[in-house]
Subunit: 233 residues, 2 copies
């Protein structure tokens, strides 16, 4: 982000503009959570009157569209232009999880407001949709497939926020012997592979999900009697 020019007498405050407002909104949501976000609080944080914000953004929805773009900017969907759909989907899912894990307070918020107005995010979706179509997915299945992967990714981003001892059964351990044993075995595997436990769950399930989608696509194509590339495997 460019720091912009300086306002006289306020050397550390960048000039108000859409980028500064959207960045400020994301910082605020990171700190206080989605429920605590308000135009009034954002204006106070930026040391301007609420009415000044409206010279640069249309309102709350417009600000949140900008927040969505900012959070989603690292999610590179250009891989759909160069890789088979299934490999692209795996790459996209990893970047998507990392992007939202960096701003966990936005997960529930952005999952429940329209994407309309987030131009850069819409272009990301366009790449995903076009890639899945080129891979042979029937147009009516494309959004369900994309949303299913998104749901898995957002839930996995939430799981990254879980404390290390999330599944410590505590004093109940003898009451749930197989659960306790499974948690210990998982922790041992995580230590032996030097991979966080959350990554084990994410990668096992991401691979399974995309494998299962590949199988389904092959079945859909067989049912339609058409022949197209069904992915890399």
């Amino acid at each position: 982000m460019s720091a912009g020019t300086r306002r006289t007498g306020r050397p550390s405050t960048p000039v108000l503009g859409r980028e500064v407002i959207v960045r400020g909104a994301l910082d605020l949501i990171d700190e206080v959570g989605a429920k605590g976000f308000s135009i009034a609080l954002l204006a106070r944080r930026l040391q301007v009157r609420p009415s000044s914000l409206y010279n640069h953004v249309k309102g709350r929805d417009d600000i949140l569209a900008g927040v969505r773009e900012l959070v989603a900017d690292p999610i590179d969907a250009a891989v759909f232009d160069t890789l088979p759909w299934d490999e692209a989907l795996v790459s996209w899912a990893r970047l998507y999880r990392a992007a939202f894990a960096a701003h966990p307070q936005t997960i529930a918020l952005l999952a429940t407001i329209p994407v309309s107005g987030a131009h850069r995010t819409l272009r990301m979706y366009e790449s995903v949709v076009a890639g899945l179509e080129r891979g042979g997915w029937p147009i009516a299945s494309v959004i369900p497939v994309m949303v299913g992967v998104e749901s898995f990714v957002l839930g996995s981003a939430l799981d990254l926020m879980a404390p290390p001892a999330m599944f410590d059964p505590g004093p109940d351990s003898p009451e749930v012997p197989r659960f306790a044993a499974a948690v210990h075995a998982r922790d041992d595997a995580s230590a032996a592979q030097r991979r966080p436990a959350a990554d084990l769950a994410f990668e096992v399930s991401l691979t399974a999900l995309v494998d299962g989608l590949r199988t389904r696509l092959a079945a859909e194509i067989a049912a339609q009697g058409t022949t197209v590339d069904t992915g890399s495997a």
Copy 2:
């Protein structure tokens, strides 16, 4: 919930106890969100002093353990005792999504605090773990598989909160032609099948995820040279 006996002069207020406190906490979180929840606010809602709560619960963590039990109570994991692991996993995932969709404000909260102390929830996990083990899953893979499905389910519960026009590209429609076409095709399929769009995404991906897990288990078992039941398919 039993209404309990009545306090003199307060005919409409049930006697304070663990169940009343936990139910009140869940109602409060449903209304104000996880970030807004506090012992002070809960006490005010129940018309008692905060110190009175500590006669019945140990504190915030204990209350939230009770909230987890209350939310998760409808998630029947007994199917793991009677069905093959893959069918049980599908049934469990559907009930899990519905249970959290009924209390969306708890999704991000309960995903990020330890499960310790939620006895009934621990017993649910014990059934899932035992079922997956009986199905042939190596003990070290059981928690990653369960957590991966949980992540998908919680993300899907969030997706149920999305507005119907979540993916309306708005005036940007001509800029993202394949995305716009895919959204329309999805909406048409949803209308034709009389199923909500969120259900299409959930069911397609749940089936794919469990299919992919079945394939992976078969591969793990083949690699180990053992022979066990790999599910129903």
